[in-house]
Subunit: 211 residues, 4 copies
Amino acid sequence: MAVQHPTDNETARLEAFSDGVFAIAITLLVLDLKVPANLAQDQSLLGALADQWPAYFGFLTSFATIGIMWINHHHLFGMICRFDHPLLVLNAFLLLGVTFIPFPTAVMAAYVEKPGAETAALFYSLTFVVIAIAFTLLWRHASGERKLIDPSVEAWQIEQINRAFRIGPATYVFAAMVAPFSPPVSVAIILLLALFWALPAHVRARLPGIG
Amino acid sequence: MAVQHPTDNETARLEAFSDGVFAIAITLLVLDLKVPANLAQDQSLLGALADQWPAYFGFLTSFATIGIMWINHHHLFGMICRFDHPLLVLNAFLLLGVTFIPFPTAVMAAYVEKPGAETAALFYSLTFVVIAIAFTLLWRHASGERKLIDPSVEAWQIEQINRAFRIGPATYVFAAMVAPFSPPVSVAIILLLALFWALPAHVRARLPGIG
Amino acid sequence: MAVQHPTDNETARLEAFSDGVFAIAITLLVLDLKVPANLAQDQSLLGALADQWPAYFGFLTSFATIGIMWINHHHLFGMICRFDHPLLVLNAFLLLGVTFIPFPTAVMAAYVEKPGAETAALFYSLTFVVIAIAFTLLWRHASGERKLIDPSVEAWQIEQINRAFRIGPATYVFAAMVAPFSPPVSVAIILLLALFWALPAHVRARLPGIG
Amino acid sequence: MAVQHPTDNETARLEAFSDGVFAIAITLLVLDLKVPANLAQDQSLLGALADQWPAYFGFLTSFATIGIMWINHHHLFGMICRFDHPLLVLNAFLLLGVTFIPFPTAVMAAYVEKPGAETAALFYSLTFVVIAIAFTLLWRHASGERKLIDPSVEAWQIEQINRAFRIGPATYVFAAMVAPFSPPVSVAIILLLALFWALPAHVRARLPGIG
């Protein structure tokens, strides 16, 4: 299949399908939160809910990360104006990672305070490493020789994305390396990366070593 | 990131993503309704289904409230014609609250007749307080100096929304204050607020103290 | 709120939200199908899967019925070109019924062969009665004095819908009346009604007593 | 109901509804992955996660297959420009199969290493046979005498699709025939078929016996 020059409508359907998958994956995260059952005699509901902090921590981290990924996807596809067969396949690979997220989130929440916490945090952070790789491959394919990029996009815009792709994946790799030593810190790094992107650009720009 | 002047299509994608999250969250509520299992010898299915009234009460209340929030969101974004980075972040914060709703709904339904009912009702109503705050922040950001508002929107329309935002959050705070004294009444207040918005405007306008 | 004359885009968002709810409700039905666990020594997987026929029966009936309702909704909103506050509320009432369907489906499947089957079948058929009432109210509101109807719609088209609304709800009421005597027959009637609409129009027209 | 000549918008709503169902079904697959509970004294979390390989295998196979089916559906509806009543019904039959997939996936994953594996793999592959039949019927109906096909579509494009429809269903039938002899190989054939479509067209064309 050669490079396609679809009408606007065709790219729109690819984006709409991806949006649907992002929206569903982000909403399914709530199914990992379980109502406390069989409270012990001396346990209050408040205590039982508080004991589930790893589940809320995981919910928040995965929500924020999927949210950032959605914005990111949105941003990339604002520049991509054509698609070809490899782009479809790479996008499917990306969505495979996104739909998978609720599972390692649940594993991490269940084991972060138990034996196996290192494995759980590693599994969780590696999932994001894989998704970051999928994102990078997708972008490199689309932007290489500007094959699928809208002609109106400026070179510095592409360069800006390239620079961001140097930070994101590296942070997830770092989180994965921290996992065997301190599982909660590993997850916290992933949450902080998501919250970092929520900062206004001018604040982010002032942080050392970035931008 | 400076204020963006996206094409219509860009705002549309933000709204479509939000709609997807609202639609999924409202539909997932049904998963909190459980088929009665292991009926006692002298128990009928009708009795077992009737005993689950708190679950239906929660289903109805959360459904009606998410429905009203969707209409509200729809209404605000009918006036908002641009987005910037803070709007994206505030909208994500709002959606975080919306996707969370099935969990406190399930907790409330499970505990409203047991020890811990006060905690459960407080947890439930505080969730709506947080969402109401997210809505207020989003609207204040968008309407402040009319930064992101469509030029064709009239001042009285903005003022009408501002007035509505004085009622909604206050009602949820009131429901939260009632929770420690009477959990079911607290939930009933939230349901009544949603049903109130379902009344025709001319009936609502005649109610004392509002409008 | 007076009658609104929204742009095409506004009605589209209402339809898109409704479509999302229909699509999610129809897809969540699969969660009522459970993997057979703990097979008895002398039981094959094939036997265990076959024993779950009520669950497949319910899945198929609810799928077909939601599917027909979606086509119906689509058809009505092809004629409705404006919306007002009562239409929004009636549509929300309709969607409340649609999102609820997976629950009575699961109850029916769990009890159709056990004590309580009559209650389960009655609960199932009454759910569709309520949805049919919501549909009827929505259509009467929209078509009364042609308030919200596209001017290009012909009188006979409205009359055709009115006629269909005389069959549908009555059939669900009939199914509910049969439920206390024969639960499986009651469900079969609902399935047959859905399959009936799947017949080509010229075949349907030849069936006696209809059309 | 005679052949309809809907506006673009009408076909769009049918496609959007189908997209929603595909997106939800593909995302619900993750609910079949269960967090390992009650690890034995001498069992690590890594071991417990690794023991679940059939669940990942099923997740991947069903994800890839639904993904290919979505691309396929997209492709067909790029050529179909009108719809009639039978097309709606055949599309509903297709979506019935797609929403069903998470169930045989879960059955296959639960039994592929236990007694009943042959039944489970047969059930899984037969599901895809049925979906392939639905696809074929839909396409034959739409393309027969080019009834519902866009006039700008060339004859060779229709012939290309016809040729692809000779491979797909046959492969699923072959997988079903292998199921009683080697359940895992049967599933692997289905996965390989999906991965095959992910290859670039020029690589696929060079494979013997195809194209």
